[in-house]
């Protein structure tokens, strides 16, 4: 059982970090970023290239992933989403745009990095094996880093000037604008941060699970699942959703293994029942 809990906590930490960027963008702009998984993949491939191929330190690779995705996110917001939000009277337009960017990224990543699964050398070797728990040290490091990033993000959003402005935007866009918050600027920063988080988690996890050009879509779906559990647009909800999903997966795969692949069937069924009771998820409303 100790192993099952440890697996669940580790999965939860990485899932929570994946969901954070998605929920941030949704909170600020009401945009469901279908390309979130593809951004994760791109971050993974950048770390693969910088760390795995060029042999530069892992930290440099992680920075490269984060910065590149932040720039891409900022450009996407400025030239794509801002324009569509301004001109379109229908909310679906941003969803279509997000889906189109997801397909675009899929194709570009396949062209640039090929069809193969890629991996990098382990950042820490060895396996922890005590008190009934087996956990490779690199997972422990990545899990700890994920928790540090989550904590840093929450603190930044809570106490920094930029964070306050973005929270104001998430609460009430018009009121924030009337109070002097520069909506365009902070929307762009928020989108860039969301994309950067996707890039960083992609870079972190390439050391554990590798990366390939086809996993963007499934990653996005899992991230949506976590956001729905926690409540769309709520940072605490995304974190809770990540840990809940991680734990459900770990427990389900152990307890239900004799019945075949029913774990996700059970998770989806539970989610349907849960959403019918709490349609806004656990935390239910934009943060404030």
């Amino acid at each position: 059982m100790e192993q099952v809990i440890a697996n669940g906590l580790y999965l939860g930490a990485q899932y929570a970090l994946i969901a954070l960027g998605l929920t941030l963008i949704f909170a600020l702009m009401n945009v469901l970023n279908f390309a979130h998984g593809q951004m994760y993949v791109l971050g993974g491939f950048i770390t693969y290239t910088v760390y795995g191929q060029l042999g530069l330190p892992f930290v440099v690779a992680l920075l490269a992933s984060g910065i590149t995705l932040a720039v891409i996110g900022a450009l996407m917001e400025k030239f794509l989403f801002r324009t569509v939000i301004r001109r379109s009277h229908r909310e679906e337009s941003t969803m279509l745009l997000a889906a189109a960017t997801a397909f675009f990224f899929d194709a570009v990543i396949l062209l640039l990095f090929g069809e193969k699964q890629r991996g990098v050398p382990k950042i820490v070797k060895g396996v922890f094996n005590d008190v009934g728990i087996i956990m490779p040290y690199d997972r422990i490091v990545v899990g700890a880093l994920a928790i540090v990033f989550i904590a840093a993000f929450v603190l930044y959003m809570q106490y920094s000037r930029v964070g306050r402005a973005m929270r104001a935007l998430a609460q009430d866009r018009v009121a924030a604008q009337l109070m002097g918050v520069r909506v365009d600027r902070y929307s762009m920063i928020g989108f860039a941060m969301g994309a950067m988080l996707a890039g960083i988690v992609g870079g972190l996890l390439v050391t554990i699970t590798g990366v390939n050009s086809g996993i963007g879509g499934p990653i996005s779906i899992k991230a949506f699942l976590m956001v729905m559990i926690g409540g769309a647009g709520v940072v605490g909800g995304a974190i809770a959703g990540g840990f809940i999903l991680g734990m459900m997966e770990s427990v389900g795969l152990t307890v239900l293994r004799e019945y075949g692949d029913v774990t996700y069937l059970v998770i989806f069924a539970a989610l349907m029942v849960f959403l019918s009771v709490r349609p806004n998820g656990l935390m239910g409303k934009p943060w404030g």
Partner: protein, 400 residues
Amino acid sequence: MINRRSTLKSMALGAVSTLAIAAVGISYAQAENKELKIGFVGVTSGPAAAWGTSNVRSMQTRAAWINETGGVKIGNDTYNINIVTFDDQKDPKRAIAGMEKMAQEGVHYVVGPNVDDGAAAVRPVAEANGIIYFPYAFPKALYQKPASNAVLGMIANYQSGPAIYKYLKENKGVKKIAFVAANESDPLSQRDSGVEAAKALGLEVVAQNDTYQNDTRDFTPVLTPIVALKPDLLVLSGVAPANAPLLIRAARELGYEGLISTETAQDAKVLEEGAGEYANGFISVGGASTPEIASDAMKEFVARYTKMFGEYNDESNTKVYALEYIIETLKANPAAINDVAEFKKTMDTFTAPNPFLKGDAKLSYVGTTSFGQKRQLSVPMVVNEYKDGAFQTLFVGSVD
């Protein structure tokens, strides 16, 4: 009067004329050869892109090689090979659309699809439009009568699995075996036939219901209960090349010390990057590129593929064969170029030298034992063991 302007004008006209004459010359030279269209319908995007991409790139590499060396002579005509491709995105509906496109383009020979449901879905279209197709899918119904247009492009797991388990039982003392498969039709059917084969050999099956979503990234929770059962052999049924290193790494990190095998083709570079030394000893089924058996032609194919696409894919060791079989069979019976009935007749007696293997190996159609008719390419059943970044041949088998 000759001035600078008129000189420049004359030079420009001269250059254009020269280019035009050269272009006409080139197109005339190309026009000497007829065009033979060979189709590909398979998955080249999404999570399973590696399967189809290695297929289509093998075909494109071989076709470019043939075209560069003057084309292929079939009967009295010489043909350049034109590969017509369609990405079915692993969706049976799109596979049908792809096969219809091939029919519209007058293509009679198609490589693919890569998965069971796609291969089953295109059958009516292929049979109605006189198309022979070469799936990389294992359901026997595709190759048994009354079906007659599908030709299995590789060794099926129900052919290689028993051979591998028998070898490991006799040579490595395997007694307990566990299976894990993705929750998709191909891996599940491969798992079921693997379980059947293992039981027939008298092995104790300690796990056979464990499955995972194909998009799983972390396999530790999946493998934790299986490793606790301490099997001697862990079979990764129908595992995708992207998932194999992750499964191997997770199993080893959980302390699993037994053998790990699969019946699908894998890529050494992917294993090296994803699992490193944990992958040492991993057993899979390959084709013709291990140094012990690869001919000079195979080595040149690998070099050309690498030059064309930047990196070779070991899955192509098997996938190099389909186009070669099509061309060689057409050479044996030129009437088959537009008549698949002639092709089918030729399959029963066809034989030609295998250019990709050392020695006097032959290309021929097999499958009589498994399907009751010759509806399978005879490719070498090379069982490989991964060791430090490369595959080593464990043993070579064959199918009749």
